[in-house]
């Protein structure tokens, strides 16, 4: 039955090459921990992606309860944490995942650096990777404010002051992010929510797609 459906679609859309491009390739010995245990360093990138997927899923569930509004943001998080079934787990996964993704990404970056994998012909993929690093940092910064508790507010205040100290355009950056040069309030929260939930994930998906397409194009760098 499933085979027939597959054949029906394949006959019309020729989908076999699409998944073959993704799945049908050889994994060389030097990146396979089954052959060389030290090759576990090649798992860091995949684990970063794994946590990213968990972040997306848990984040989608969090938005079912979260209210991006200064009156209710904290209350909705408190309710989610203490009243909603498994809310503590979902929020916990998003909270710890945010830290783990930074750790795994840092380790992945170091692996790529110390194996010299960013060299020709993989320069572009390195640049995209550093871009993903920047987007992740941005996601961490904007997401930290959303519970609207004390530590969030005051950490964001410090962060915005740093952003505001950029010469010439500092105030413009502040207004773009916070809605005002001095106040951190209702506008800041809605803007950070929009950036955290729409703008940065959109950028992240585009960069991740480019990252993976380039990996499939170029393959993993050879043994040292």
């Amino acid at each position: 039955m499933l085979n027939k459906i597959y054949d029906w679609v394949d006959e019309r859309l020729d989908i076999t090459p699409i998944w073959r491009d993704i799945a049908d390739h050889e994994v060389p010995e030097h990146v396979n921990p089954a052959h060389h245990f030290s090759a576990f360093v090649y798992c860091f990138g995949g684990l970063t992606f794994f946590i990213t997927v968990i972040q997306i899923l848990s984040g989608m569930f969090l938005t079912m309860y979260y209210v991006p509004d200064v009156e209710n943001a904290w209350k909705s998080v408190y309710y989610l944490q203490n009243e909603v079934a498994f809310g503590e787990i979902v929020r916990g996964m998003h909270h710890w995942g945010a830290s783990l993704v930074i750790v795994m990404m840092f380790l992945h970056t170091l692996r790529v650096f110390f194996t010299g994998s960013y060299k020709k012909p993989r320069e572009l993929n390195w640049i995209v990777g550093v871009g993903i690093f920047g987007v992740m940092i941005g996601l961490g910064f904007t997401g930290y404010l959303l519970p609207w508790d004390m530590k969030a507010l005051f950490a964001t205040k410090v962060g915005l002051e740093i952003a505001g100290s950029v010469p010439f355009i500092g105030d413009m950056i502040k207004v773009l992010l916070a809605g005002d040069t001095t106040i951190i309030g209702a506008q800041t929260l809605t803007r950070f929510f929009a950036i955290h939930v729409f703008f940065l994930p959109a950028a992240l998906f585009a960069l991740l797609a480019a990252h993976f397409i380039m990996i499939r194009r170029q393959g993993i760098s050879g043994p040292l």
């Binding site: 408190y78 909270h95 830290s99 010299g116 550093v130 950490a155 100290s165 194009r217 170029q218």
Partner: protein
């Protein structure tokens, strides 16, 4: 050569890939050793690694519920801010005299900007074909230095932070949850301290500023159910209390302070 199954579509606008790009990677059969098919053999192993990782991740999540402090209160001037842990190294950098005050821009923009820019442009800074770290000492040394600095600065930031004060200042108060104290201040109307507190232009004006006119707290903690004796309250009013409370702001006489302290000490929930 026809694409795929050689299907013809009505009004086919697809461009045929007759000349494939010559930059395809080397076939892995050119590398020594045993290759393995990604699908399904290697993917299964990746999933096992992922499953083990997920177990650790879930244990962390269950063992340490994610923290939530009291709701944001921009009027609290005494709060000591702290960013999330992966920003601590930048935060610590901004505390050094060469990167703060008039040189703030060095710590806030120039140094992080240079580091991130160098990271981004790494392939064009390190253009030799050598890949082994030992064969390219400069990039290796710079990266090790950067990693060591990040670890050192993060460490310095952690040991210099007052974690107990941070925990206390962020605690969720009953008033945050809409649960007022089960103490009716009106019941203590007859005490002389009540009059002193309620006179918001009186000697206790600066106390009200932080602890609130109804004593339920603000920048400072709630003064109901403190569990303190009157003498202890007098001492705190005299000497202040870390992290945020200055001493000696009560403007009245010692006699008035004594009465006020007795009033506050008697604000207890009935058993």
């Amino acid at each position: 050569m026809q694409r795929g199954k050689g299907m013809k579509f009505v009004g086919d606008s697809r461009i045929k890939a007759n000349h494939r790009m010559p930059n395809l990677p080397k076939d892995y059969s050119e590398y020594p050793g045993k290759t393995e098919a990604f699908w399904p053999d290697f993917l299964l192993k990746e999933w096992m690694v992922g499953a083990v990782f997920l177990i650790g991740y879930l244990l962390l999540t269950v063992g340490h519920p994610s923290p939530l402090e009291g709701p944001a209160d921009p009027t609290n001037a005494a709060y000591i801010p702290l960013p999330d842990w992966y920003f601590l190294f930048v935060y610590q950098l901004l505390k050094y005299s060469f990167a703060s005050g008039p040189y703030n821009i060095i710590g806030a923009i120039v140094m992080p900007g240079l580091a991130f820019g160098a990271l981004m442009l790494m392939p064009f800074l390190d253009t030799t074909p050598e890949r082994r770290p030992s064969k390219r000492p400069l990039p290796t040394a710079f990266m090790l230095l950067a990693v060591a600095s990040i670890f050192y600065l993060t460490w310095e930031s952690v040991v210099n932070h007052d974690w107990e004060a941070a925990k206390a200042q962020g605690e969720i108060k009953p008033s945050d949850l809409g649960e007022g104290p089960k103490v009716d201040i009106e019941d203590f109307k007859d005490m002389p301290g009540y009059e002193i507190w309620m006179d918001d232009a009186g000697p206790a004006a600066s106390c009200i500023g932080c602890h609130g006119g109804d004593l339920t707290g603000g920048a400072g903690p709630m003064l109901i159910n403190t569990g303190l004796e009157a003498e202890e309250i007098e001492t705190i009013a005299h000497d202040g209390k870390a992290p945020g409370m200055p001493g000696g702001t009560f403007a009245g006489s010692d006699e008035e302070l004594k009465e006020l302290a007795e009033f506050i000490a008697s604000l207890k929930e009935e058993e």
